[in-house]
Amino acid sequence: MISGLLYDLVNVIPLCAVASLLVYGGMGRGFFHMESGTAALIPAIASAVICVFLGRAPMKYRAAALGVMAVAAAGAVPAMGREYLAEVLSENICVLWMMLLGVICYAAAKAAERFRPLKLVVALSALAVLIYMMVTGCHTSRLVLSAAVFYISLAMAEETEYRWKKEGKGGDVRYTVRLLPFLMLLPLFLLLFKAPEKPYSWQFVKDFLRGARIRYELLVQTLNENKSWDSEGTNMGFSEKGNLAGSLGNDPYEAVIITSDRAGDSRVYLSGKIFDSFDGRDWKKTDLSPMDYRAYDVLETAAAVMTADPGREDDYLKYETLHIEYSGIRTSRVFVPGHALYVAADPGVLSAGGDISFSGRGKPPYTVKYFRVNKSYEGFRRLCDKGSSINKDIFRVSKKLLWDKWVEKGNGDLLAPNPDEQTYEGYLDYLDRVREFYGQEMQVSERTQRLLDETTEGVTSDNEKLCMIERYLSQMKYSTAPGELPDHIRTPGDFLDYLLFESGEGYCVHYATAFVLMARSMGVPARYVQGYSTAADKKKTVIMSDCAHAWPEAHIEGVGWVAYEPTPGFKTETGWEVASETTGDKESEHEKKEGPIPEEDLPDEEEEAVLEDHAVKHRPVKIYVPVVLAAAFLLLFFTADLILRKIRYAHMDARGKVLESGRQTLKLLKKHGFSLEPGETLDELQKRAGGSVPEEMLTQIGIYETALYADHKMGEEDVNRMEDNNRELMKYVYRKKFSGSFKV
């Protein structure tokens, strides 16, 4: 019987839990007036459990239970009053609904027990509900999941058992109950298991695959020494090609590691390759001059600074060192920040059109000496707006000052470049080349021109115009998947029109290209640069491959090459605070505090006490009356039952009494572990029980057996013997039970 009870409970309770929590979740807290689903669970499960017990109980107890409920309900009406009762019921209607749900779940579980396919259907439905909730993103409590998984596993175990052909199958009930210790492990674990909210990223798989891919590509690069790094296409990384690839990949890996002597700028740009010609679809590099562009660029900027603000060069420029090593890339390119004066690499480097690459078999790590420009400094902005003009004297003086101030004293570096190699004539040649290659005439469409005019309206200097263009482009849409360029784009003008008026989205390469073209259309020499851009506010920075970037640089006459950032979301102020720019104290924020609740809104204390007192006094009456009535009913019911049984017994003939007493004997023995087994005779039961119970107390079994099967007339003597032995047996059994030494 215990097995049967347990079996019913494990079938009913999970079903009940799932159903009630789903209903609670579906109807909402507002309907149930319950703070949590767990509270909604209790009435459902309670009613289901009551149904289970009543279902297993003899008819007498079911009748008693129903009678109790009826009496309690009947007693509640006059005790509580119709109005109050209606109010309580309406406030707690959800409890009644949940209780009804519990009864429905009980009925469903019992039906499923009886009809195996129905149980499978219910289990699969539970699984389907879970999947639906997962897909739609509904919040599911662990209790629901545990209950559902438990029910499903139970159904699966029973189905497996049903289909299993083997000897000794003992039936579903006992089999399932005996498996419970193992089946319970699943829901227990799920109750304790806290699941992440986000899908699993499979990072370790991605890391493994990425690592394998990098190893493979490094191996390929090692075997082909002359081949430089190129990760264009759908990858994310630096490319030596200037084509505007369709979409970016998303599989970053460690590319470069930079180490500074001290924490540097908030963002650093490392130039890898400079392009000068754009045909509408691809950038190409045609400027291959071996001239040391970078040295002239540094000199030009230094000269502009020294001329504009003598003695305060430190506010504009800082001479710093950067150590660079390559981690996941293999290339002959040398990545350098802007205004790099020289690169110390072994055995050396070459310059071509402003780009620097390793000479011979040189490879990283290497050291770069460069000037960090304080671009956020207002003075530098004014300098860019104003421009400058550098004559021969300024050039010479600036060069000397540059070397004297920074290069010689900087780090005692014996590898500083020879200042005699940079001449004023060389500078003029450099400017000519800049105009020739990077100031190419650019034809734009009328609407692009209108846009340019509107955007740059009200400003006069080149730098201000470029800043306006930069701002305009940075407000467009950033997209890593803007799609391939349409086939009809054949000229730079086509590209501009497409980006500005059709597509409206792109990533760095698109916006850098647009900026360069727009700058050139205004007569400002500009170049397209590809390299890496990353935050570098620490001494050591690992640059990932997805930090590959493209940006424009424009040449401001007399100032030098200035980098701009038109890519949406990438603009950051780079520089450092200068003493004269220190602002005042920040305004302190006012905290909002909630004041106390107005006194007039507080309930009157006396009034409250009165109300509470009234409620307390009347509560016992409302609750106790039905309870007392129910208890009284039970007492009467069982008393009446006892009396009726005695009356019925008294009116029986001798044989009837013997049979009734015999049944009592069997009940007594069953209570204490000696049930009549299937196929066992009463005689065998007597012998079996005789091992624990004195034989003289079991002799009535023989009489009972005779009354059952033999055509023997029973007399009063038999009845008395039956009754006496039963009394003795009862005393013996209860004595043993309470003394704890009854051996079953």
Binding site: S153, A157, L179, L185, P199
Partner: protein, 387 residues
């Protein structure tokens, strides 16, 4: 079981897909539950392994005779409070067989209950080996995993060779010729009669005389002993696995014992030559069969017992030449055996060679030696049908 595994793997893969696209309690919960199922199954199987009991019993002593069926009982018992979902018993089947029970039958054992089965055990070959339950296969309640559990206390028994009563020999013609020659040479012993003593072989009773005398009279052989039979037994072992060497050895012993009994029953003394501690000449007299049989039960074949050495020593001892006929029971008829046959038959003694081997039919070796014949006896099958 395969279907359940396929369903489980599909569900697990789907759960992997689920957690890849959806977070939250359900996706991870289902994945965790499915991943936990093998763990729970493992725990269950380990529990069953520790709590499971096997009892085996043979009806009688642990000495059986090859080819003779004996009653065998085994009990699978579950002493624990958990149910054993699926237990399958696998028996030793190479050297012995259990009839009436299928290796594929699975049993469910409720708590504190057992299954007792009575069956018949048949040992095919003599020797000492394990019989009964070889291993137990335990399956979990989801029928996903099985664990094979080797019986840690196997049932080891000693099997004696079977005594096969030969009623006739195919080589009877050769025997008859040998007997005729003996008669011509007047080498038959005189036969006397005496009164019957309890214990005398009933086959020696002279019924005619007994009817006349009105009391039982038995023949008593006097004078020269009747010329006996010589049996040469190859005592070597070939092979490392019991399944390789036991059938052949078993058949050799059966043949030798059967021949010895055949002649012993006809009061013909038999001398068996084999390699024990050195070359053994075992003469089996009138009442000596039981002792001989015991010795044969305890006999062990060994690789080191080279038949060539046996043949050489037999030839040197010359006891073989007093035999009326010689039987040679070997595992192969190699040149050394052929030379021995030739040597013996050159003395006018018929030789019958029994080669115990799987090779038969067209591969039957032939002896072009007068008064010698060869027959192949397969290791399996009824000896009576072959000899």
């Amino acid at each position: 079981m395969r279907r359940n595994r396929i369903i489980f793997i599909i569900l697990w893969i789907c759960s992997l897909v689920g957690i890849s696209f959806y977070g939250g309690t359900v996706s991870y919960g289902i994945f965790a539950a499915l991943t936990l199922v093998p763990v729970i199954s493992l725990i269950y199987i380990i529990s069953v392994c520790f709590l499971f009991r096997i009892y085996q019993e043979l009806d009688g002593a642990r000495e059986l005779t090859a080819g003779k069926a004996e009653r065998f009982f085994f009990t699978l018992y579950n002493e624990s409070p958990i149910v054993f979902s699926g237990i399958r018993v696998v028996f030793f089947s190479d050297l012995s067989g259990i009839s009436g029970l299928d290796d594929c039958t699975e049993y469910e054992l409720p708590p504190r209950s057992g299954v007792k089965k009575q069956t018949v055990l048949l040992c095919r070959y003599r020797g000492e080996y394990e019989v009964g339950v070889r291993q137990v296969v335990i399956q979990d309640f989801f029928r996903l995993f099985t664990f094979t559990y080797k019986n840690r206390e196997p049932f080891k028994i000693t099997v004696k060779p079977d005594i096969i009563h030969l009623t006739a020999l195919d080589s009877a013609e050769m025997i008859m010729n040998a007997a005729r020659e003996s008669a011509d040479n007047k080498r038959e012993p005189d036969v006397f009669v005496r009164e019957y003593d309890p214990g005398d072989d009933p086959r020696l009773i002279n019924w005619k005389l007994s009817a006349v005398q009105n009391k039982l009279m038995v023949r008593e052989l006097k004078g020269e002993e009747q010329q006996g039979i010589g049996i040469i037994m190859d005592s070597s072992r070939d092979g490392d696995e019991p399944l390789e060497y036991l059938p052949v050895e078993n058949r050799i012993l059966e043949t030798v014992i059967g021949l010895t009994l055949f002649f012993n029953e006809r009061n013909v003394p038999v001398t068996v030559f084999y390699t024990g501690k050195g070359t053994v000449t075992d003469t089996v007299g009138r009442n000596g069969f039981d002792g001989f049989y015991s010795r044969m039960c305890a006999f062990s074949f060994e690789k080191e017992k080279d038949p060539g050495v046996l043949f050489r020593e037999i030839m040197e001892r010359r006891e073989i030449y007093s035999s009326g006929m010689v039987f040679m029971v070997v595992r192969k008829l190699d040149p050394r055996a052929a030379e021995t046959v030739s040597g013996i038959s050159s003395f006018g003694i018929p030789v019958m060679v029994y080669v115990v081997s799987e090779d038969d039919g067209g591969d039957t070796p032939s002896l072009r030696i007068p008064r010698a014949d060869v027959k192949v006896i397969p290791p399996s099958g009824a000896l009576v049908d072959v000899i």
